[in-house]
């Protein structure tokens, strides 16, 4: 386990609302190795984003994190105070967000925003930070990086801004990069470019990536490991190849059936649709969270589903094999 970068065990996130406490992340566990890509997959509202924000200690006000274990590169994150976390954040672990249009501060230049984290974490001078920023702007495929450096966010397109966000995340040479739906807001050709870029960067820089997405097509292209989330829980996780070739949980199977695949999907036939809606996350849920939408649901599903395991692959269901 020497090469494990991030170890998450028993992580929960609760949000207090007027109608009760929302348990958005429920006791999940996973780990990420150095240089590996883990994809967190699930429908919107299943707790993927909250999981990533909890790791970065960026949860919104009112959201509370609890974990049995949260260890990053040997350091215990649960006991860190805000200013201690600031030493890690942006430095050794970085994050890219879903909305490139609004994730950059409109009042400052790209260059200023690229440099400020680097100068703080690395105690670097302007010249050094500038060189690094221009180097990375080039690296993420931005032409005329020198010119872009002095521009404001509103002068850049969405795709360019997301590249800037990636460059910004890479400034300090982080060991872990969390990308929360980095391509959702972009159009399809740009999506492909950004994904290719992330894959290249991982190869070249050996960064571990947690990619959060609802798009299994994206997962298939980039993931080493996959964790499928549903209603705040991880229902199935394992190696990407195993998950795709041999999905065991009915929900994972449902998700995979939703991907249109050339050759596999018969033209004219309807794509798979999972009927029903995600259950309310207020209060405790006993038994399997997916049972209301599951074609295989039985009376037994009212009990907590048994954990099942084969090498590199685990899931929670009464079924051995969907």
């Amino acid at each position: 386990m020497a090469d494990t970068l991030l170890e998450v065990e028993g992580l929960s996130v609760d949000i207090k609302t007027g109608n009760g406490t929302l348990h958005t992340v429920r006791n999940i566990s996973f780990s990420v190795k150095r240089g590996e890509t883990l994809c967190l997959v699930g429908e919107s509202g299943c707790g993927k984003s909250m999981t990533s924000l909890a790791i970065m200690d960026l949860l919104p006000k009112g959201a509370k994190r609890s974990a049995r274990q949260l260890v990053f590169a040997g350091e215990d994150l649960t006991s860190k105070k805000a200013d201690q976390f600031n030493v890690l954040r942006g430095n050794r672990m970085a994050m890219i967000f879903q909305e490139p249009m609004t994730a950059l501060n409109p009042a400052y230049t790209i260059g200023d925003q690229l440099m400020e984290g680097y100068r703080r974490h690395k105690s670097a001078g302007i010249a050094e930070a500038r060189d690094r920023a221009v180097f990375l702007l080039n690296k993420v495929g931005i032409a005329a990086a020198d010119e872009r450096f002095g521009q404001y966010p509103h002068q850049l397109s969405g795709g360019l801004r997301q590249r800037v966000m990636i460059a910004m995340a890479l400034m300090c040479g982080p060991e872990l990069l969390i990308a929360d739906e980095p391509t959702t807001a972009l159009d399809v050709t740009i999506q492909a470019q950004i994904l290719r870029l992330l894959a290249e960067l991982r190869e070249e820089l050996g960064i571990a990536i947690i990619l959060i997405t609802h798009d299994l097509g994206v997962v298939a292209r980039i993931a080493d490991q996959v964790a499928v989330m549903y209603a705040g829980e991880i229902v199935e996780q394992g190696r990407a190849t195993d998950i795709f070739s041999d999905p065991r949980h009915p929900y994972t199977r449902g998700l995979i059936d939703c991907i249109p695949l050339p050759g596999k999907t018969t033209p004219g036939r309807k794509l798979g649709v999972i009927p029903g809606v995600v259950p309310s996350l207020i209060g405790e849920i006993t038994g399997c969270t997916f049972r209301d939408r599951c074609a295989h649901a039985e009376a037994q599903c009212r009990e907590p589903p048994p954990p099942r395991q084969v090498p590199h692959h685990s899931w929670r269901c009464i079924l051995e094999d969907a």
Partner: protein
């Protein structure tokens, strides 16, 4: 998870009327301000019944009697008497009528002018909008206090003059708010539908748009009424507003200011009342804004 919470909320949401009522009474500042305002209005209306003396009768033998809580005070004049021996409590009650009358009338006059301009600008856009915007900018450039003082100085101060002057000066905020509210309402689907059906312009403005911008109108109206009351008090304080012997609170403070070093209560009582009235109206207005647009706080 936010989606889940949202859908739950829509199911649990009660009917609109009940919701508004619940929000109104759950809104502390509205309850507090509205309650206080209601008390002041009732007291002002019942002034002839509640007053212990005639507010204009002078009694030079009993000048500057302090309120009852001072050693020399008595319950004969619970808030004492002024420098001419008039009963302060009775004057205070009748003064509430003047402030409320000013607030209400100025609000109505400036509200009609400003709303008309704002509706026209917001609905027709283009040249009408430019013209109204120019009027508003010009009006804003002129200091209200100074222009009001100047006009009163020429025409002579009296209650109707003050009401007219302030009414014709204070429509700017109505126009600004109504203009943008109308622009928003205009883009609503059913307004477009009414246009498509061929409803007349006046019908669309009065029947579709006005009811829609009413919440904003009410909020501006309360705040403008409060501001008009303060302006009248300032004018009267400078001696260029309501004229003696009317018991305007601003005028009462003005008449008492030469004696304030020895009889502080003479300015403290009308000053506090003025602040309370304005506070009540502002609280009610703020509360209404939160009730109409809970997210806009």
């Amino acid at each position: 998870m936010v989606d889940a919470a949202l859908s739950l909320q829509t199911i649990m949401e009660p009917a609109a009327g009940a919701r508004l009522r619940r929000r109104m009474f759950g809104q502390k500042s509205f309850v507090l301000g509205g309650g206080l305002l209601l008390v002041i209005i009732v007291v002002a209306l019942l002034a002839p019944l509640l007053a212990t003396h005639d507010p204009y009768t002078q009694d030079l033998a009993r000048r500057m009697v302090p309120p009852f809580w001072y050693g020399k005070g008595s319950f004969e004049h619970i808030l004492g008497t002024d420098n001419l021996g008039r009963d302060y409590f009775s004057r205070l009650l009748y003064g509430a009528r003047i402030s409320l009358l000013i607030g209400l009338s100025v609000m109505v006059i400036s509200g009609i002018i400003g709303t008309a301009l704002g509706l026209v600008a917001g609905y027709f856009g283009g040249k009408a909008d430019l013209a109204v915007t120019f009027l508003v900018t010009t009006r804003l450039a002129m200091p209200v206090m100074l222009v009001a003082l100047a006009v009163v100085a020429i025409v002579g101060g009296s209650l109707p003059v003050i009401i007219l002057v302030l009414g014709f000066l204070k429509w700017d905020r109505f126009a600004v708010v109504m203009r943008s509210a109308t622009q928003q309402a205009r883009s609503l689907d059913y307004v477009a539908a009414a246009e498509a059906v061929g409803a007349s312009t006046s019908r669309i403005i009065l029947g579709e748009i006005l009811p829609n911008v009413l919440p904003q109108l009410i909020v501006v109206a309360t705040l403008e009424a409060a501001s008009a009351i303060l302006l009248e008090a300032s004018l009267s304080f400078l001696g260029l507003g309501v004229q003696p012997p009317l018991p305007s609170w601003g005028l009462m403070i003005s008449e008492a200011k030469s004696y304030m070093f020895f009889s502080f209560w003479l300015i403290a009582i009308p000053g506090t009342m003025l602040a309370l009235l304005v506070l009540a109206i502002n609280l009610a207005g703020d509360g209404l804004r939160d009730i109409f647009a809970p997210e806009g706080r």
